[in-house]
Amino acid sequence: MSWLFKSKQVNLAVLVFFFLVGFVPYFFLMPQVDDAVNKLSLIAATTGQFTVAIAIYSQWRRSLRFIKEKRKGWAYHIYLLALMSGMTFIGFAWGKSHAAYIWLTSAIVTPLSSVAYGILAFYMFSALARAFRARSLKAAFLIVSGCIVLLYQAPLTGAYFPGIESYAVFLTDNFGMSLSRMFSIAIIIGGIILNIRMLTGRELAFLGFAREES
């Protein structure tokens, strides 16, 4: 029976069928198919969530190996496992609205995430410091326009650089907007062509088929 799941043709047929089921109602008014698609999406999402268990197992196994072999940073894995087990237990036993669960989220998870997010500013500056070296005419343009837009975004800019707003708005609304639309168009076209390749069976790596197999 395993040949059924390993067969490229069967996998492709399933892919094309579900693609059509999801895609056709976009072009034709078919409320019944719409309902079926919504239910299918819900089933797929629910089934997908069962993989959480595999992810937790993977993390446990890795952390236990770290602790057992006393690898660098092994003590952090004890902390990780303790918190993971605590949150899982509280979540299952009393639900996500329990005070203990809310405390864990608001006192540990959210502040730590916020710190990691805050550090982003320093990374941005270090990247920009490397990139903003005017070694060519293009780089010089980048620096000048970058400075204008950055100054415009900063507080109190109006007080210190009153005339800068019109330049910044011009750069953002013309060059920025047209570039962002050009990027979007190119990305969408790339996505469409990738889908065509998938549906014609040319690119099936995401189904686990390597080139040699196909």
Binding site: G73, G190, I192
Partner: protein, 265 residues
Amino acid sequence: MPKPLFDIRGIPSGRFLGLVLVIMIAVLAIRQMRKKELPFIRRVAAIDAIDDAVGRSTEMGRPVLVSYGIGDFSYSLIAALSILGHVSRICADTDTRLIVPTGGGHTSYLARELAVDIVRTQYVLAGKPEMFREDDMPFLSGEQYSYTAGYVGILVREHPGSVIMTGSHASEAMNIAETANLVGAITITSGTYVSNMAALACASDYIMLMDEQPAAGAYLSKDREQLATIRVQDIYKVLAMTLVVVGLILLNVFGSGFFLDLLST
């Protein structure tokens, strides 16, 4: 207000005709190119650099770190998995350690299973199934910044020779790309979000922009028909640009809203 050029009851006519046109052009162009010489495809530095980056890691005796993003199932994840398959095959062939941090999103659990399967398949195909280590594909977290912390930790501890960051990475991409630079890794990234493309371009050694990432699988395959689809991609881009320019001229010079009406059909 733009008015549709025509209307067929029960069918969003313009969308349907658009779809038929898109498919027709693609099929005809691919068939035509199959008969002729291999179309010229411009070199994409970021994709060409993938093989060199893995080679660098092999020579330095350091691991290769690849991630496929934290996003939902989309074209970028599929393209990223194609690249992951390619890199894992080279790593298996050259006995280079491959680390794939997984997670980062609430829907990343399923993607992780796919990624594990793809990498395992490549090691089996290379005749080295025993070299595949699932522990090198750790699930870090379903939360974006917990994943980032874990990812950065791996970068600092393992000192990879190259970091290939594909798929859809959001704001955490900067943390990762900059730390990769800090530990001396060659960094190849892909810009999926328009808002972080500029920052990533500053932080990375190579970046795949716009439609380069979706085309990567075809580009790396060197397969004639797949390369033809990249050519079709370019034809569509020229068509889109022509539509925009002609539409602008018609609207602003001649006052005709024909293209607006056509697009609203």
